[in-house]
């Protein structure tokens, strides 16, 4: 086995750590999870000279070794545990030339853990523009390290960094600061209590409890040690930070010159517009509009293509595989259309992440957070809730995952709970067909009624999200005080490579996460619809043929399929719940659609298509056929099933109901309990039922 070198990339957020990771590993990277938690674990490999291979771990961004979130805790856990298989042989600290002072705080902490450490100063290409000059020799000597001056944008310095990694054994090991000077007496007692342990490591373990308290300590039990009160420890931590900054300021006084007169200030120029009281919101509104335009307009082209491809594939399976077999049916109707149901969302999800990653890379997202915080806070949310809420219009799954950087748990939880009210793309097919069915064509003030209804549905979703956040904020008790710190990074042109990798990675995660569930549900649905108990189901063929003598073979086939469905397991379920949904204006067939939709909303149209026996109806050209069949659907006494009243009731039900197993699964994972997904399921479905009931009873 060749010797593998463990390298850990550590750095503040917004330093281009991921760019360095991408530059070192190229596409030799994979994203996984740390065991038991949902923090992304990004690792890759990098070839050095002499056949040596480096295993590169891109640790979550952190400002220091004092964790205040799950992501940051990962960094500390790893650096404190020498037995971890990923424990770094060498730590590479990524810093940004513009924020060297702040970035060095983390550097000195890692250094004091006596881990061989290389300092990367990234974005060196902007040095001249910002009037910064560095004396690398002096910095290396004062910081006891080796420095690689890197520009991921210009692609310089990466080879030098690889050389440094390869020769990590020659790195100086001196500490930057003797932490024990902040309270010599305390550290002396600590030393005598644990003579075999590294002092700074002990200190970090003790203080983790102050902030986060999740550190595992198999090897040292500091609880026995008579420690100080939380407030005293915090004071000491502040003292430590002050000492570190004193050290850093002294180093930079000799090693860095900043000539501010040479700096061209893009930041203040852009900020003047982008966070202006009026223009800021105008720009944000335009940005939002473009995102929607992309998701709902541009994405339809590839989506239609995917749709036809999968419909064709299902048809091909049916004609090529042994005819009439259950297996053929399962593959064609269950599996192929199930996979198609996942793949169809890829364009929208990819577009969404394209925009979000551009907004984040450019530094604009922090400005949105800044602009929106005060408004969102009125509703118990945070400025940082804006990103998840926007993401929620594509899909709630990545949106819920995007809540992770909201520090305050209550604000984060409320964001998670209300995000599914946002109109996700899975609701769109349902909205489209029902709006087309019950809303008349026509114009008011030059605006199309149907388009207006659709827009209203989006607003209703957003309104309900904000309203329930407001209620939740009143109901839930908060344990902690406000905690909101947003870094306002410099504006940068997004790096294409980073954007591309983000889009690919996030889309892949979505397909795998949601895909599994949607596929499984499709198969279950197929089974429930294809089998039934008793004589009616099994003898459908004979019964229908006897009753409808003389009709054409095609029509007869349709009738048989629909008779079978009525007596299949799922048909029985639909019939059973009919009394409950009758007051909302639905019949048992819609009931089947509803039941199926609790797995995933997007199956509604497909299910109705099967029920109204128009065959594989996910094809666009068939929408009209389903529509006309639905329009002609009548109760036994001749009243139409789909009226204005029942249509509106159905729209409201879909706007509010929690009908997505994948989201529930993600919420369970993010909140670590079944309590919150259950609250969502029951709460949202109740709201949906009640509002649909009121709408139908009022309008009918």
């Amino acid at each position: 086995m060749s010797k593998q070198l463990n390298v850990a990339l550590i750095g503040n957020p917004n330093t281009g750590k991921t760019s360095v990771f991408n530059a070192l590993t190229g596409l030799n990277q994979k994203v996984g999870n740390y065991p038991g938690i949902t923090v992304d674990k990004k690792q890759g490999s990098c070839r050095l000279s002499r056949g040596l291979k480096a295993h590169i771990l891109d640790l979550p961004g952190t400002y220091s070794l004092n964790a205040s979130s799950l992501d940051e805790n990962v960094v500390i856990e790893l650096l404190l545990n020498k037995n971890d298989k990923d424990y770094p042989d060498v730590a590479v600290i990524i810093s940004d030339v513009e924020n060297l002072k702040r970035n060095l705080l983390l550097f000195t902490q890692v250094k004091d853990l006596k881990i061989p450490t290389i300092l990367v100063i990234n974005m060196s290409d902007v040095m001249v523009r910002k009037g910064i000059s560095l004396d690398i020799k002096v910095l290396e000597q004062k910081l006891h390290t080796k420095i690689a001056l890197v520009s991921t944008r210009k692609n310089t310095g990466i080879e030098a960094l690889k050389d440094l990694i390869e020769n990590y054994r020659t790195l100086p090991k001196e500490q930057c600061l003797d932490a024990s000077t902040i309270d010599p007496d305390y550290f002396k007692r600590l030393k005598s209590a644990f003579p075999n342990q590294d002092l700074y490591k002990l200190w970090l373990v003790i203080t983790q409890d102050v902030n986060f308290g999740k550190i595992s300590r198999q090897e040292l039990d500091v609880l026995e040690f008579k420690t100080k009160s939380t407030q005293e420890l915090k004071r000491l931590q502040q003292k430590e930070a002050i000492k570190r900054y004193q050290f850093i300021n002294n180093v930079l006084k000799e090693g860095q010159i900043i000539d501010r007169s040479k700096a061209t200030d893009l930041r203040s120029k852009l900020d003047r517009i982008l966070i202006h009281k009026v223009w800021g919101y105008v720009v944000f509104f335009i940005v939002l509009l473009s995102i929607f335009q992309a998701i709902y307009d541009w994405a339809t082209v590839p989506m239609d293509l995917i749709d036809t491809t999968f419909a064709g594939l299902a048809e091909w399976v049916k004609t090529t595989f042994p005819n009439g077999g259950k297996i053929t049916d399962l593959i064609a109707e269950g599996i192929v259309s199930g996979i198609g149901g996942v793949v169809i969302f890829i364009p929208q999800i990819a577009f969404l992440f394209l925009f979000i990653s551009i907004l984040e890379e450019s530094g604009y997202m922090s400005r949105v957070v800044f602009l929106m915080d005060r408004i969102m806070r009125r509703f118990g949310l945070s400025g940082k809730s804006v990103v998840p809420l926007i993401s929620g219009t594509a899909c709630a799954i990545p949106a819920v995952m995007a809540t992770r950087n909201i520090e305050l748990w209550k604000e984060r939880l409320i964001t998670i709970l209300v995000t599914p009210f946002m109109t996700c793309s899975a609701r769109l097919p349902v909205y489209l067909i029902i709006v087309a069915l019950v809303i008349p064509e026509g114009y008011i003030f030059g605006l199309n009624y149907q388009a207006l209804t659709l827009m209203l549905l989006y607003l209703i979703g957003f309104g309900m999200a904000v309203f329930s956040a407001f209620i939740l904020d009143r109901v839930m008790k908060s344990k902690r005080k406000t905690f909101f710190v947003v870094e306002m990074p410099s504006y940068k042109l997004p790096l294409l490579k980073n954007v591309f990798i983000t889009v690919v990675e996030k889309t892949k995660t979505f397909v795998l996460e949601a895909g599994k569930i949607i596929l499984a549900i499709s198969i279950i649905l197929w089974v429930l619809a294809s089998y039934g108990p008793g004589k009616e189901f099994n003898n459908a063929n004979r019964i229908v043929t006897e009753n409808y003598n003389g009709t054409s073979q095609d029509e007869l086939d349709d009738k048989i399929a629909s008779y079978q469905l009525e007596h299949s397991y799922i048909g029985i379920i639909g019939k059973t719940i009919e009394p409950v949904i009758k007051p909302l204006g639905y019949d048992w067939k819609i009931g089947i659609g509803l039941v199926a939709s609790f797995a995933a909303r997007e199956v509604f149209v497909g299910t109705l298509a099967t029920i109204y026996s128009v065959g594989s109806a996910s094809e666009n050209e068939n929408i009209d056929t389903i529509k006309s069949k639905m329009a002609n659907e009548k109760y036994p006494d001749g009243r139409p099933v789909f009226t204005f009243a029942s249509g509106i009731s159905l729209l409201l039900f879909y706007a509010f109901a929690m009908q997505c197993m994948s989201t529930l699964a993600v919420v369970k994972r993010e909140t670590k309990s079944w309590k919150w997904p259950l609250v969502q399921l029951v709460g949202m479905s109740t709201i949906a039922y009640v509002s649909a009931l009121i709408a139908f009873q009022f309008l009918k």
């Binding site: 400002y63 220091s64 004092n66 205040s68 924020n99 002072k101 702040r102 705080l105 102050v210 902030n211 407030q231 915090k234 004071r235 931590q237 502040q238 930070a241 002050i242 900054y245 930041r267 203040s268 900020d271 966070i275 009281k277 922090s366 957070v369 800044f370 602009l371 915080d373 005060r374 408004i375 806070r377 400025g383 520090e407 005080k481 406000t482 905690f483 909101f484 710190v485 947003v486 870094e487 306002m488 990074p489 410099s490």
Partner: protein, 76 residues
């Protein structure tokens, strides 16, 4: 009664004198919000909250209630 960052007007600067309140997150201290460091109020969001600051050459936004806990001496 001493001044806090929340008392600054747009464009004004101060020197931090005390940031030891228990309700100031450690993260903020680590970003340079420490006694002796300079702070400048760059911009205010609508409704004067949050505040966009330059603290010790770090650019960050904090809410008004946190800003009110960080005591300063005004300069300039």
């Amino acid at each position: 009664m001493s001044l806090s960052i929340a008392d600054l007007k747009k464009g004004e600067q101060g020197i931090i004198t005390d940031s030891s309140s228990r309700n100031i997150p450690l993260k903020l201290l680590e970003m340079g919000c420490l006694p002796g460091n300079k702070v400048k109020l760059l911009q205010l969001a609508p409704f004067s909250d949050p505040l966009y600051l330059d603290i010790n050459d770090s650019f960050l936004a904090i809410r008004k209630d946190t800003a009110a806990l960080i005591l300063i001496d005004k300069i300039g």
